[in-house]
Each structure stands twice: as C-alpha cells, then as structure tokens.
Point group: C2
Chain length 129, copies 2
C-alpha cells in the first residue's frame, strides 16, 4: 500500500508531530497528544485515535484503559504539514485523564490559571478497571 | 511583577510550547505556532498573539507584515501545561500565509491530502508591503 500521504508529514527530530483532537460537533478542543508515523497510520486504518505516548514510549490507543475512545471523522494537516488535526466524537464525553471533557480547563485570569471546567467523573472510577 | 503563571508552563527542552489559535466565534482551528516564555508574556500583555518563529529564531508578532493580527480573548493551557490555546479574533479573516482562513486546509481523503479550503487572497498581495 502506498504511503505517500505519510511521507508528506514533516515529522520532527523525534519522528513526532502534535495532534489536536477537536470535538466534531461543538468545535471544542479536547486534547493535544503526539503521533509518530505508525500512530497516524493506525488512526487512519482504525478510524479511532492512536497516539504515541512520550512518557511510556509506546503506541497509545486512546481509551484502551478508560474506555474513552475517540471516533475519528476527519484527519487534517496544516500548511507546513507538521501538525495533525482530528475531528472526533469522544466516547463517554471525557477526553481528559482528570475526568473533564477537555484537557484545556485552565484559563488565564490576570496572573493566575483558573480552573473553569468541572470534573465529570472521578478519575479513580475511570481507570479502576 | 509576579511570573508564577509563566513558571507553571512546562516549556520543552528548547523553551517552547505549541500554541493553538482558535476562532473565538466559530471554534475553527486557524493555526498552530510556537511560543517561548517571552512570547506568552507579550501575548498576555498586548492582547494580541505573539509567537516564537523557529525558522527566524525571533519573536513574531503575528500580523506584523501581513496586517493579520490576532486579538486574544482568552488564554488557556491543558492538564499537562505543555500546550497553549488562544481564543482569538482574526483580523482580515486570514490566518494562513497561503491566503486561506485556516492553515488546516488539507484533509485526508483515502490515501491523499485534498485541499478543501479556498485561497481568499493572493499571498503576494498580502505580503507586498
């Protein structure tokens, strides 16, 4: 199978690019993670988001532990081909490991980061299985 | 002036984090660039997006050449504090140097990246001044 489309991506020195997961319905940005070539290939094949975990140094099929998989409706890249944008449907409505819908729950308020999104589910409950 | 809020950001080994510019009205993701500490400080101070140009190795007040500045309504960070999200109003309605509204104009269609957003203004016209 041709992989010309994967060659077009400008992987960084570590072979990675940032990938943004955006709620396909609301436009809300849910999270940013990283992908290597294999992660992007698998994401396209599966139709579910697969990232590269930099801390665990392995492929990470989002939701493999939490059940909070991400159904991928659209894959985009930008003018420099060094960022991936996924338009997704978030299973369970929770993308963040803190139990919030979005990872972007800290908003700058003057000189402080204020938490502006509620925890929807206790993380201990999400990850106990 | 206290800079505790800047210390909270997990700058990478190059002292940078990715910054996403999102249209505050439509939720559309317009571009991703990079910020260092000074860029984020200036963005907050000015209320307009200032990035770090990795190619030119200098601060880049977005729109300084094109006139397409970005008015910043909100600054967020994620659970790991290693990505910045700006909710902005895009002057001129064009964020991309190709003359398109958004940099994310390439959509994966099978095994090919298809261009799915129109050029709104000839880049030669944008940058000739």
């Amino acid at each position: 199978m041709s992989e010309v489309w994967l060659n077009k991506i400008a992987w960084n020195d570590d072979g990675l690019v940032p990938a943004i997961a955006q709620d396909a319905d609301t436009g809300e940005i849910l999270m940013v993670a990283w992908m290597n070539r294999e992660a992007l290939r698998k994401t396209a094949d599966l139709g579910e988001a697969v990232y590269w975990s930099r801390s665990r140094k392995k492929l990470w099929h989002k939701g493999e532990e939490s059940g909070h998989t991400q159904k991928v409706l659209e894959i985009r890249t930008d003018c420099d081909e060094d960022v991936i944008l996924l338009k997704i449907i978030q299973t369970g409505g929770i993308a963040c490991h803190t139990g919030r819908k979005s990872c972007f729950f800290q908003k700058l308020d003057g000189q402080e980061w204020a938490t502006v999104e509620p925890v929807l589910k206790d993380p201990h409950e999400i990850y106990r299985k």
